[in-house]
């Protein structure tokens, strides 16, 4: 297994080349974008980018947020 920090592992991140063309084609269609690396705050019951609705979302602190009738309370 290649280790981190060796010459072979320090390359362009995979996230930049996987679907680079596909990314370009989505540039104008994805909602909520402000700048290329701005945070996206997903909320429970929001349509995810996979086209499916998530009732529960893991936030950046690792808490699981659950949708409520008020649209977005905490579990």
């Amino acid at each position: 297994m290649g280790g981190i920090g060796n010459e072979a592992s320090i390359r362009t991140p995979v996230i930049q080349f996987i679907g680079d063309k596909a990314l370009q084609s989505r540039r104008d269609s994805t909602e909520q974008r402000e700048t290329p690396n701005s945070p996206i705050i997903l909320r429970p019951n929001m349509k995810t980018p996979f086209g499916l609705i998530a009732r529960f979302i893991v936030n950046s602190s690792g808490e699981i947020l659950e949708a409520t009738s008020d649209a977005g309370g905490r579990s």
Partner: protein
Amino acid sequence: MKVFSEAVALASPIATSELEASVCAIDDARAGRLPIELMIGVGPLSTDVPFRVLGYAGCVAEAIRSDVRLLIEPSIPKIRLFTSAPKTEGFHRGRALMSLVTLAGALRIAGVDSPIYLDFARRDPEIPPDLDIDLGPDLLEWVLSRDSRHRPGKPPSLRYALEHASPSMFADIADSDDTPVRITVGGATEARFWAVRMQVRSAAATRGLRIAPAVGVIIKALRVPWYQPTSYEPSLLAALRPAEAIKGLSTAANPARGGNGALRREARAAIRLVDEEGVADLIEAALSTERAMRFARVNGFNLGRRLLDAMENDDESASGDRL
């Protein structure tokens, strides 16, 4: 519109580019252009394999049939089970093997028929120590207090939590060119570790390291890791007498009888599966490392190099095997 049953963890809100890459990767995987690996982690097992492993496998199998299928259909994933035990103090190779083999066997009993790969995490630290990682106050407090509970008397450390992103664990930091899409499936503890991993990913990407696309499916009802059984839970061996095992686990999951209600969902799943064909062989696999290895081979599980090296190493001081 279809709805996920469980909590969904995304490469978000760390960076838009991460999220977009994950979405594109899932699209590619659905179209058969990228392989998919389901990543299921197992922590160090400190006692005998509990009967609850069967219930955990049942819950994971449900998540695979529902949320994972919604995400990746029609693709067929590989399943990678790994144990983080080698990264912890008091590593016990026999128990580490047993935890992987019994979970893999339990997944088969629960109806999961994808190829299953088993391996140990690397013992050495893999995350560069000088990455600039900011966990934020809430997450930092959780990591440090957890570490203090698991390593009492030792200076609190972030190391174990950060290693979750390493190539030999959830593999957020990629180790090869042909990186698959990786879908983490696990209980509520994985949500916290997911957040840690996202911060490691972000720091690693800034450093120019390779990052694998990832999505998480977190089963929020599973709040007590099965490999850390409560003191009243029956062991897998107890399932030789199914009625007693069912009674024991039902009691352990019943708050009205001094049990822990967080075990209920796994208890129900274990009870559903206990009479399935194959349970007797699974119990036998938990009797010794030799039987566990035989069980793994008979069932066609793919064994990773680190696991094989550890099991072939007779040096007890190196492996910590006391079985």
